[in-house]
Subunit: 312 residues, 2 copies
């Protein structure tokens, strides 16, 4: 059984040995630590009440957004108001009568899920990035999940790629997720709209350039509008820049791109791959590193959490 | 037995079980692939002719500068003119009558050496950077060396940290090693000298700002000259920026700084640690990550190569 705690909803699944989701539950994410444990416990209880859930009982995995330590304590979760130092694993285990609970970062779970049953099957060195409000990452090296000394590894979104760039809520300037996330795409699009470089974007936003969002870019670019296409090229270049930085460091055999942004269209992966080729060190001396879309969609985190709990 | 092939010299050592160097040989590095294999074979032969070398025979490790693949082929070595696709492990093994040879990136070897017998003993998640002409890195995650899918992991020097920055010989702009390596320090210092921000630097360079080098900064800053101290602060900030990027990604329990630059004075580590604190994601929610100097000096790579060969 795997649970994925998001900023807006908690998704729970029971997965069979082949990775198929046989039961599923969705509950809205509430505010505050105790309420979060409550909703996780309710989701788990609903799944445990099913036939499949009863068979699989014994191990629960949870993916959570933020810095979660190796004891399953969520230390820092910028997208969950009121949640800090929340003992997710211990708290949920207690609520479930002592069932073993493993809590990991959500993107780490997604990477483990895509490797087990999705876009990175058979790969031993995987970099997965999830493009949403920010950028999360899960990393597999030599067939094992990279967790780091305290479990905080994979915070790639706050890799600074331009110290003169826009201010990030974290306090630094030019973090990668200011450019290459869903909100980064929105920001690049609003800049273009406000500078008059794409009338179609303004039109799609209902007339106000400040209302332009990422999905307007995808739509206008698909229609062939040059201004929107230029925004998407720019976005793809920034995405490729960070992926190349990470590929130089990890030397993965596959890069998987997931998250909300990819579900609305993967057209931007074409210019991303092109820019990536020119940004990786010594590209002419190494085999190509494929950049592919995630396959498990919004269930990747919950599936990965389930697989991790079952096998760790 | 370990060999470390550098841009100017080849250093060979025989190491005992406690990590002490009991025999040592140095030979100048020649140009061209066949000559490089020759000099490695000569260094190994000299060591094998010693009592300690005879006892330790059977496994040889080699650290080489550049992208070396998991079969021990040096694919790309920007600092070794005329060397490309050189089968270091197989070539040296053949010259030594079939002795088993392991070839790894030199900074990877240094990391393994510092972890076994130097500044990172007992650490399971180590990031080591060597600051020289460029920036090399060796990374240990969960007690194991990070090599990557082809052995090319750890190319941190070409992580882009400012796309509007100075051009790098690799063709990109604003690679980290344009700022935080030995040559990066020299570049920052010449900028300051040419802009008239440090007369002492110009003086130490013999009157021409274009002749200012990194060691002049260290000396002038130690004398208390404000202009040179500002250069060193700037350098430390860039070093901290890249280290924080990597710490966000790896969550190490220790960072080790080595290479030629640290041997001429580690004063810059104080402002580096200060800047690092402000750049790591969620620093207030995690334990401090110590940034320490390497302990094995120029022998780190050769010692690490020997330890790796003996235990891998």
């Amino acid at each position: 059984m795997g649970l994925d705690l998001g900023g807006t909803k908690c998704l729970g699944v029971v997965v069979d040995g082949a990775g198929h989701v046989v039961e599923e539950v969705r509950l809205p994410t509430p505010e505050g630590g105790p309420a979060v444990i409550d909703v996780l416990a309710r989701a788990a209880a609903e799944l445990l009440a099913t036939d499949a859930g009863r068979q699989g009982a014994g191990r629960v995995g949870v993916g959570v957004p933020g810095l979660v330590d190796i004891d399953g304590v969520l230390r820092f979760a910028p997208n969950l108001p009121g949640v800090v130092d929340l003992p997710v694993a211990a708290g949920l285990s207690e609520r479930l009568g002592g069932v073993e609970v493993k809590a990991l970062n959500d993107a780490t779970c997604a990477c483990w899920g895509e490797r087990a049953h999705g876009a990175a099957q058979g790969c031993h060195h995987v970099l997965l990035v999830t493009l949403g409000t920010g950028i999360g990452a899960g990393i597999v090296t030599d067939g094992r999940l990279l967790l780091g000394a305290r479990g905080f590894a994979g915070e790639v979104g706050h890799m600074v790629v331009d110290p003169h760039g826009p201010l990030c809520p974290c306090g630094k300037r030019g973090c990668w997720e200011r450019y290459a996330s869903g909100s980064g795409l929105g920001r690049l699009a609003r800049e273009a709209a406000e500078a008059g470089r794409s009338h179609r974007l303004v039109e799609l936003a209902g007339g106000d350039p400040r209302d332009v969002r990422g999905e307007h870019v995808t739509q206008a670019a698909a229609e062939g509008e040059p201004g929107a296409q230029a925004v998407l090229e720019d976005f793809a270049w920034w995405l490729a820049l960070g992926l190349a930085n990470l590929a130089n460091v990890f030397d993965p055999d596959r890069i998987v791109v997931g998250g909300g942004l990819i579900t609305s269209g993967e057209g931007f992966l074409v210019p991303t791959r092109r820019a990536f080729q020119s940004l990786v060190e010594g590209m002419e001396h190494r085999p190509e590193i494929p950049i592919v879309s995630a396959q498990l969609g919004e269930r990747a985190g919950a599936v990965g959490a389930a697989v991790f709990a079952a096998t760790a």
